[in-house]
Symmetry: C2
Subunit: 307 residues, 2 copies
């Protein structure tokens, strides 16, 4: 799956991923109104609005992007109905041949970690049958519990040719509270990064590992160091746009082959029509605004990578 | 809710929580057979088996335990149908007046962390309505992302009078890979523990905070230190029984008031009938075996606390 991700990034020449993190206040009124008219102000109504909103964005962008990253929390908050919309979104994106990164940040140990891996990447045994569940292509995973948490994911990844992205240095302001603490003079995130590189060696694709890392765009100096520590690791880069990361901050995350990183934008793409820059599209044409925002983002990043 | 948890622990005189972590191979054949006969070897069939299995255990133990801790991964691996069984289990346990600790180990930042908090502890806004979702009483949370990840949970906890347990030192063998790294001569888990105590001060119950900690039974020396660092923090203690923690290891986790800790057992209770000790109950009476295992566990812990 890492090979497919790299191939798709090359094919569309766009090292980006669209974060499908629907918030109710992003969804244009005409969609919410129609969903509530059919299902009422219920969890089903909310889930229907989310699904229709996502579908519009995917239909308008799937030919120019390699991947999507649905954030499961935004679905989970609507309970079972929300999770049905998550599953529908995953399935639909896969039918459009997009690589799907489930942003689930799960992390536990042993058989529990295995259960999460099965839920998101594998197949569950039911009697004599093996059944796919949410079936994303990649999942994000939290490293705090160590190898006992990561290895069960890697085992499932090996069986299924799938991958994970492990949190190393997150994009948020308080990420340093624990991640930046110095251990023998070096920040903890470097230790985690080194360990990610080691875990990655156990499941390699052609040029990159199936085991990737999450490093926020908001810390380019740290990105530079981590890039060197993890040369075969694909880096998923959140924090571009709304969180403050700019295109020029992104260069250090890439290798000299122009690969090795995939930059996420969520709000900046899916709610583009709410920005002044794209306001002329109007809420009805929100998906066209998203397409334009993708084009602009890709152009910005290409500009930086050419330098 | 922390007050309710403490009251319930006092009332049944049992500082324990039953981990409802159903694995298919724990479930007695008569239950699985009946479920597959009705729904086939499907996710629905697996979910029905899990639900019936849980219900049996809850019916047999609810009057002698204060709380349950369903591990959501074990449900999530069966997808939407599994999560319906999770929700049914939570609802049923609450109808039996048990405190429900959702072992979800979620952790993200900002609005995403808020969405998880809403999913598990709060109410979601849908149009003009606010709707409860999974509605556990407590949730477990991962601290790796720092305050940006924890504060949205605390905000929802304040609104709802609910609580969280933050991972500090987990029970697994590799937990030390990152958690034990020395920062200025002190292990990272101590820093996390101190921060948990600080977060806890912002949302206090009568004697203990709504913000608890997870510290594994397998590291009693560390438990002793963390108990002192976090005097007002309730400690959720996994790792007793199957993972190797023994009753005598538990004393340091408690305060002198005999409170301050709640010990989890999952497999040791819910699959008790599979142990030689309880084999005479037989698979048909698995729930009675679970009840006896609860009685024995409570007696063991009481013995240690009296010393």
């Amino acid at each position: 799956m890492i090979n497919k991700l790299v191939d798709k990034i090359k094919k569309v020449d766009a090292p980006i991923v669209v974060g499908l993190d629907p918030m109710m206040n992003y969804i244009p009124e005409h969609i919410t109104k129609a969903a509530f008219a059919e299902y009422g102000e219920t969890l089903e109504g909310a889930a229907e609005a989310i699904w229709q909103y996502n579908k519009g964005i995917v239909d308008a962008t799937y030919d120019i992007i390699p991947a999507v990253k649905p954030q499961i929390a935004m679905y989970e908050q609507f309970g079972i109905e929300g999770l049905k919309a998550f599953q529908k979104t995953v399935d639909y994106c896969k039918s459009k041949d997009l690589v799907v990164i489930g942003d689930v940040k799960r992390g536990d140990i042993g058989s529990t970690s295995q259960a999460y891996a099965i839920a998101h990447l594998g197949k569950v045994q039911v009697g004599t049958k093996k059944i796919s569940v949410f079936n994303e292509d990649f999942a994000t995973v939290n490293p705090y519990l160590g190898s006992d948490g990561i290895n069960p994911f890697i085992d499932v990844c090996k069986e299924e040719n799938k991958g994970i992205f492990i949190l190393v240095k997150t994009s948020n302001p308080s990420s340093g509270e624990f991640q930046d603490q110095l251990v023998n003079g070096r920040p903890l995130y470097e230790l985690v990064g080194e360990q990610v590189a080691k875990w990655g060696e156990t499941h390699m694709g052609n040029d990159y590992s199936y085991v990737g890392a999450v490093v926020g765009a908001t810390y380019p100096e740290m990105g530079k160091i981590l890039r060197k520590l993890m040369p075969k690791t694909y880096i998923l880069v959140p924090g571009y746009g709304a969180q403050g990361g700019t295109a020029k901050d992104l260069a250090p995350y890439f290798n000299e082959d122009g690969l090795g990183a995939i930059v996420n934008s969520s709000r900046g793409i899916i709610a583009a029509y709410k920005q002044e820059k794209y306001a002329s599209f109007g809420a009805l044409n929100y998906a066209d605004a998203s397409r334009q925002a993708v084009i602009d983002m890709v152009e910005e990043i290409r500009g930086v990578l050419k330098k």
